[in-house]
Amino acid sequence: MTPVATPFFFYLLSAIMLIGGVLVITRKNAVHSALALIVTLLAQAAIYLMLYAPFVAGVQIILYAGGIMVLFLFVIMLVNIDRTLKERQFNSQWLVGVVAATVLGGLLIAVYTRGREMFPEHAVGVAEGDNTQRIATMLYGPYMFAFEIASLLLLVAIIGAVVMAKKRI
C-alpha cells in the first residue's frame, strides 16, 4: 500500500501554496500580498524537500523568502501610497484576463492529465545526502560557464538597480 504521509503532505502543502497564491493576487494591500507570497514560497520549499531537493529548498528559503521578498517589502514601503488602498485593485479587463488565464491553465492541466503516461512512475531513489555536493559539482562542472554568466546577470541587476533608483549617478 502506498504511504499515506506523502499524499497528505503533498495536498496540505499544495493547498497552502495555492491559497497563498490566491491571496497574493487578490489582496488589496501589497504588504499582505507580499506576506502571502512568502507563505507560498515556504510551502514550496517544503515541497522541494519532498522532492529530494534540499539545496534548492534552502536557496528558495534564503534567497527568495529571505532576499527577494525583503527587497519587495522595502519597495512597497517606498512607493506605498494610501491612494492604492482606496482604489479597486483590478484593472478593467480583469474578467477577460481571468477567463483567458483559466482557459490556459485548464488546457495545461488537461494536457498533463491526458499525457500522464509520458512521465512513467519510477521514482528513482535519489540519495539526498550528497545532494549539495553533487549540485556543486554540476555548477562548477558542466554549468560553470552558465554560472559565470549568472554572476554577470547579477552584476547587471546591481548596475541596473543603481542606475534606475539612484537620483544622480
Partner: protein, 709 residues
Amino acid sequence: MFLSHIWLIPLFPAFGAAVMFFFGRKLQKATVSAVCVGTIALAFVMACGAARQYSAWSSTEEHYHRPYQTILYTWLGTDTGHLTYTTHDGTQAPFRADAGFLLDPLSSIWLLFVTGVGLLIHIYSTGYMAHEGGYYRFFGYLNLFMFSMLTLILANNYVLLFVGWEGVGLCSYLLIGFYFHRKSASDAAAKAFIVNRIGDAGFILGMFFIAWYFGSLRFTEVTHLAHSGQFAIGDPIITAATLLLFVGACGKSAQIPLYVWLPDAMEGPTPVSALIHAATMVTAGVYMIARSNALFVLAPKSMLVVAIVGAVTAIFAASIGLVQNDIKRVLAYSTVSQLGYMFLALGVGAFAAGVFHVFTHAFFKALLFLGAGSVIHAMSGEQDMRNMGDLHGRIPTTHWTMFIATLAIAGIFPFAGFFSKDAILWEAYSREGGAYRVLWGVGYVTALMTAFYMFRLMYLTFHGRPRMSHNVEHHIHESPVSMTGPLVALALCAIVAGWLGWPNSLGGVDRFTKFVEPVFQPEARVLQQEGKTEQLVQGVEEEKNTKTEWLLMGLSVAAAFAGWGMAWRSYRHADKGYVEPIAAASAPVYNLLLHKYYVDEGYDYVFTGRRKLGSQRLGVLGMGGACAWIDVKVIDGLVNFVGRFTRVFATLSSWWDKWIIDGIGVNGPAILARMLSYPARLLEWGLVQWYALVMTAGLVGFVFYYVYH
C-alpha cells in the same frame, strides 16, 4: 528625258514650298510670285513634255498602251521584302510601298489640267492676293498643294496616292484657314480636315482589303490580277473594298453624306476655292475610282451605289444651289452637284465620260470661281448677290468670261459642258434596267436646275438694277491683267475643251475617249466576257441608236434653255427686295432649301455633339465626355479606392487595436463591470496588461488549435 523624270514634276512645287517655308518671311512679294509661279510653270512644261513623250512611247509596239512607271526607292518596307503579312489565301506577301510614279492616259490628263489650271490660278493669285498679308505663306501653301496633288496623280500605288490624298487635305485645311483669325474660317478648316479624315479612314480600310486580297498595292499588279479573271464578278471582298474606297472618295469629292465641308470651305480665299474646291482636289475622288476601275467593274453593287449616290448628290446640291445668295456658295453647291454628275458617270460604267466631265468642268468651274473672285474684288469684298447687280458694263471682261462659263456649265452647244454632260446622260440612259432610266431622269432634272441657278447668278450679278451701297459702287473697277488674263485663257478652254470629245454621233471622232480608252479598255473586255457587249464604254454601236442620242441631246439643250428662260423671267429686272420665285411658290420649301435641309444642324446634334440636344451632348464629344467621366470617376476612382481602402483598413487596424482589441478587451468587461456595478474607466489604451493578455490569448489559441484539432 521628260518621261524618265516625271518624279521631278511634283518636286518643283515642293521646292517652291520649301523655299517659302524657310526664307519666305524675308522675300519680296515679287520674288515670291516669281519662285512659286515659276515652279508651277516648270511643272507644266514638264507635264506637257511627259505627256507627249508618253503618247509616243505608248504607241510603240513593245509597250503598246502600257502605263509607264518609274520607281525611285522602296518607301515603306525593305527591298528584300522579308517584312511580310499573310494574304487571304495564306501566302506571304511583302509589306511594301514604293516611292514610284506612274504615267498613263488617265494620269496625263489630270497632270495636264492640274498643272495648267494651277498655273493660271497662280498667276491670277499674284493679282488677287497682292494686298493681302501672309503673301508668301499663301503661295507656300499653294505650292505645297500642287506638290501633293501631283503626287496623288502620279503615284504608282495606293499608299503613295494616299500620301497625296492626305496632303491635299492638309493644304485645303491650311488654305481654308488662311484667315485663321476668323473663327468661321478656322472652324471650316477643321471641319474640312476631319470630314476628309473620316473618308480617309474608309480609304485606308479599302486599301487594306485590296492588299489582303491581291497581296500588293501597286496599281499595275492589282489591275493585272483583277483582269486575270480569277476573281468572280460581285466578289464580296472586292465589293467591300470598292465601297470603302468610295467612302474615301465621298470625303474628298464632297458626296453625300460627307459633302458638308465643301460649302463651308468657301471661307478660304477665292483662288483657293477655284483651284482646290472646284478644279483639282475635289476631283481626286473621281480620279481614284477611275484609277481602280478594274476593281469596280468586278463589283456591280458598288457601281450601282456610286451611281445612286452621285445622282442624289447632284440633284440635292443643285436644289440647294437654287436659292443661295452668297455667290461663292452657289458655285460651291454647283460644284458638289457637278461632282455628283461625275460619280453618276463612273457608277454607270462610263468612266471615260466621267473623266471627260472632270476635264471640262475643271476649266469652266475654275473660270466661274475666278470670275466670282474678280467680282468680289471689284465689289471690295462683297459676296452677297442681293447687293450686286448691273455689273456687266462696269467689269466687262469678267462678265463675258463668266457668261461663257455659264453657257458651258449649262450644257449649251457647242460649249465644253455640253459634250461631257451629254455623254454622261447618254451613258446613263443607254444602260439596261429601269434604275438607270431613273438615274437619267435625275440627271436631266439636275441639268435643268443647273441652268436655272447659274443664269440666276448671272442675272443677279451682272444685270438688273444696281443694289450695292454707294461707296462700294464708287470703287467698282475691272481687275488687273494678272487676273483677267487667266479668265480669258480659261474662257477659251471652256469653249474648246469639249471639242476633244466631239461625239461620233455628231460626226466627231471623240479623241478624248480614244485617248483614255486603254485605261478602261480592259473593262470592256471583262464586260464582253460577261456577255454585256452592249454596255461597252466606247460607242461600239452608236449607229444603232444615233437617233435616240440626238433626241437626248435635244432634250438636254432644251432643258438648258428652259432654265435660262426661267432665270431670265424672274431676275432680269431684279431690284432691291426682288422675290424669289420658289419662295413665292412655297415658303416652307424655300426655307428648307435656304437652310440646306438643316443637314449641318443635324450633324452637330447627332454626330459631332457640338450642339447639345437638350442638356445632353450626343455624338463623339458626348462619348468623349462620358469616357473622361469614367476615367476619373470609375477607373481612377477604383485605384484611389484601393488606396483609400488600405488607408481606411490601416486606420481600422489601428482602430482595431484601439477599440476592438483594447475595446472589447477593455470596454466589454467594463460594460460587464458596470453591470456588476463596478466603477470603470472606459478607454484605456496602451495598457501593458492588455498586451500580455493578447499574448496569452495567442498562446491559448495555438495550444487549443494544436491539441484539439
